[in-house]
Symmetry: C2
Subunit: 174 residues, 2 copies
DNA sequence: AGGGTTGGTTCGTTGAATGAACTGACTAGG
DNA sequence: CCTAGTCAGTTCATTCAACGAACCAACCCT
């Protein structure tokens, strides 16, 4: 399972985008960043991704200014990976893709819902709030677990935290 | 360059979606289907994709009911690949990704614009029409070439046709 | 000094993408 | 009828990325 990088000569912004976020694992890393995952070890445990691939993707995303690396303690030196504005704007891609998959391949009951934090209403397929009638920025979205439970629930700390309580996107998970 | 297929155990619709449309080349094939590309040979010439990979992706997309295979002549037998409703709904993923890339990595002048066919207004980043104020289905979108021209323009028939005149999405290119 | 945690890097193996060659069904032209 | 050409693939050897286990380095705590 590999996803290549170059779609040169396509003269197309979509191809350019896919060279960056179309690589295997990349969009799941960004999804986790929306969930508030920030540390290498947490991405690793939540994604079951090979360590070398994770390091490579994080470096690529930082270089593309989708993530920024931020030193949050000095001793021992520890960095966290945060979404930049450019990264946050990927919500308009990630949510519709999630929603498309949920509509077409999901069970009747979803494993997760995304709700407008101001009113608790589930987002529509375009990511807007049907009650308030407008766009909802990801910072105003809360991820709720259930109603359905996964057949084989994951036991890594990220999955556990997300199952335990609703979580506002972009806020740190721990 | 390879993109793997399985993200098992993720308990996430996004991962499920990426197993299908996250494979290398797949989203570019779907993009071409929106442009009205329908035949194996045209996908091949427009994408510079290895023949075996194209055949594999088309079969996968047909099996997932994103594309449908339609016999359009009997002698010699020829099939075309058309977007299903499920495939058409991917517009809500493809356009925002194109738009994100255009905003963040594009030049001042784009190579292409997408306009609401009813009023000629360029779509906003969410894919809505700022003039009419509502959602625009891909069948009501026209792809316009320019204002900028590509540095090294492609000469395959699909690229030429798309440069020559505005083209309504989902309509056959030839 | 020893053991644990975190965040990587290294490297041999596996598997997918690549691209050139080949195939088979059919048509068109001479 | 024979030959050339088109279209839509399949086959196969090579290349390259993903995988995953092992290793490493910095730092902490006791």
């Amino acid at each position: 399972m590999a996803l290549g990088k170059n779609y040169e000569g396509q003269n197309c912004s979509l191809a350019r985008a896919l060279e960056l976020v179309g690589e295997r694992w990349t969009l799941l890393i960004v999804r986790d960043a929306f969930y508030g995952v920030r540390r290498y070890g947490d991405f690793l445990a939540h994604l079951d991704i090979p360590r070398a691939v994770l390091a490579d993707r994080l470096a690529t995303l930082v270089e593309a200014n989708v993530l920024q690396r931020h030193r949050y303690q000095d001793s021992p030196p520890r960095d966290e990976y945060l979404l930049t504005d450019r990264g946050v704007e990927l919500w308009s891609v990630i949510y519709p893709l999630w929603s498309w998959s949920e509509r077409h391949f999901g069970e009747e009951e979803p494993l997760r819902t995304f709700r407008h934090v101001a009113c608790g209403t589930e987002l529509d397929p375009a990511g807007r709030c049907p009650a308030c009638g407008g766009e909802v920025s990801p910072g105003d979205v809360e991820a709720h677990s259930g109603p359905r439970l996964p057949a084989r629930p994951r036991r890594d700390p990220v999955s556990v935290a997300l199952r335990q309580r609703p979580h506002r996107l972009l806020q740190p998970l721990f």
